[in-house]
Amino acid sequence: MGARGTFTGGIHPYDGKDLSKDKPIKDVLPKGDLVYPLSQHIGAPAVPIVKKGDHVLTGQKIAEAGGFVSAPIYATVSGTVKGIEKRRITLGDSIDSIIIENDGLYEEVDYGECKPLEELTKEEIVKKVQEAGVVGMGGAGFPTHVKLSPKEPDKIEYVIGNCAECEPYLTSDYRRMLEEPQKVIDGLKCILALFDNAKGILAVEDNKPDCIKLLKDLTKDEPRITVKGLKTKYPQGAERQLIYATTGRMINSDMLPADAGCIVDNVDTLVAINSAVRENKPLMQRIVTVTGDAIADPRNFRVRIGTNYHELIDEAGGFKEEPAKIINGGPMMGFALFHLDVPTTKTASALLCLTRDDVSEAEEGPCINCGRCVEVCPGRIVPSKLASYAARGDKEAFQKCNGMECCECGCCSFICPAKRPLTQQIKSMRKMVLADRRKK
């Protein structure tokens, strides 16, 4: 089956990207203390290797990976370790974090000489990515070196750069592609160096024609890399949908992209891989879109990891209106915050402040069986039925009707005219089923 550049289902919400898409990336220097939660990734938490009172430099490792599926953490400023204590993170809970007082000097460690890519062995490349603490920066936070170490590397046929950025309001990837396209391409080339049989695809939604053109121009002499325009539609950048849209291959919830011969990495991750491999630089910064109709001056920032969210709001001119809801990430997949006193982590793509909360305004009614959720579901399941099984606690029927295939994209909840919390019901049921499976 060929690649169609899209998938069946999906939605077209108001995209809000105009608020920040024309604002160039601005560097933000942290003012207050920096907080580094030891868990900013999927897998074992990192283990601190500094103690209270230690002086650290920018780029110095402060916590080691806690296992293979884990990632180290680096100081992003120079200063003094104030302590290791529990701090609140974006997900709401408090976890052990290293706190560093910024001395404002930004003294950097020496990253050492770097061999050109051609002279590096595959093992060295993966090692560098692992050492740099690179994780999936699109939101999941899966350690990248694990992704780059599939069981059968010869069977990887596609390395897909996820440049879709299908979440409404987010423009960080867009700005990155526009301002530093070569870094994105070079990052992809680092991964291609690992997989001899692979072709590289940069998959961009067609609402970013300028990026498509720019990347095409820059890769016209790269035989292994193509740029593919995708239909603009949410969730075009969801891993399974993206693989289908770019290669025509389908994977289900039990499979990994590698099972379909694919490796998928997000724009910011590609850039982080590039600095790790070619400059020996650890992951210290990311691009964050601070936006929403409550923000005075929506912008894209290059933020040092550990920076407090209050500072980002201040950098964006503060609130022009009282926000009703603040979301870490986009409106479809992001987490609502009840506290702004949290640090920027490796997976923070946006800080969205809305003056209107659709959810609390929506009044739930009975399901009228309209079928809109079925039409939009990219997983091709029947959300209305699954949600009612979930409400009844019927785990057997839920699994039989492929409830575990849900990718929690939120399309069904968005589209439902009766304003039913379909995604939420399905999500909690999935968690319960997964918990049961772990018990066994």
Binding site: R240, A336, G365, N402, P417, T423
Partner: protein, 311 residues
Amino acid sequence: MSNLMKVSSNPHIRSRMSTSIIMLCVVAALMPTTIFGIYNFGLHALVLILVTIASCVLFEYLFDLLVHKKNTITDFSAVVTGLLLALNLPPKAPWWIGVVGGFFAIVVVKMVFGGLGQNFMNPALGARCFLLLAFTSIMTDFATDTYTGATPLAALKAGESVNVFKMVTGFTSGTIGETSMIAIVAGAIFLIMMGIIDLRIPGTYILTFVVFIVLFGGHGFDFNYIAAQLAGGGLMLGAFFMATDYVTRPITVKGQYVFGILLGILTGIFRIYGASAEGVSYAIIIGNLLTPLIEKYTMPHAFGRKGGLSR
């Protein structure tokens, strides 16, 4: 900053479309044929329509009150039911027919099964079939001041010739809202453009029906006969406004095609072999009853799972 944090699980945005907007759109889409019906049959038709809608809304309100449920009339589904039922009544039917029909539709078919979304057959059609069986002579008397004698479809069945042009425009006898194919299709186009219905069910229904009458109707491919069959007997109203009723049609895409084909065949059988020239109402009701079964066997394959179920 103190009261800022409204917290909920994602997604945090909702589409503007709501149940009541959908219902109001259906009412709006029924306006061309409603207005034409009043124009064609006179003021009594208007009175009958208003009485039927009012009784549907009132019965729903009273039922909610009686069983201590939240008032549900603001979703406007009772208005849709009332209007659809009225459009399916003969223009000279007495006002109390609307009240009895409204009671049956709302209380018996819809509310006792749990209200909106829980009814197993289309309330308006359920009530119409009840009235047809209970008050057959009233429900089959289509004579008005303007029109005498049989409906065009009955005349067609009796072997008489009919004026297809009048049937398409609607200047014939029949129920209040079924006569004008043009007005009904105009409303249906509005609903399709609003994304409220699609052509899956009406399309397969009408196509299957045409194929069926060409094969078994005894007239072969006779254009006039086919056109008269399509324009007459509430087929258009049924196909676009009642077979597409969300609650009682299959939710699966494949199931909707099956449903459309089933209705086409049933309507063909009832019209060709049945005693009455009609058949749309019964076809849709039987289809409604088979909906759970159709859904069960037409569940889609999940993304990335060809036929197989997840573990």
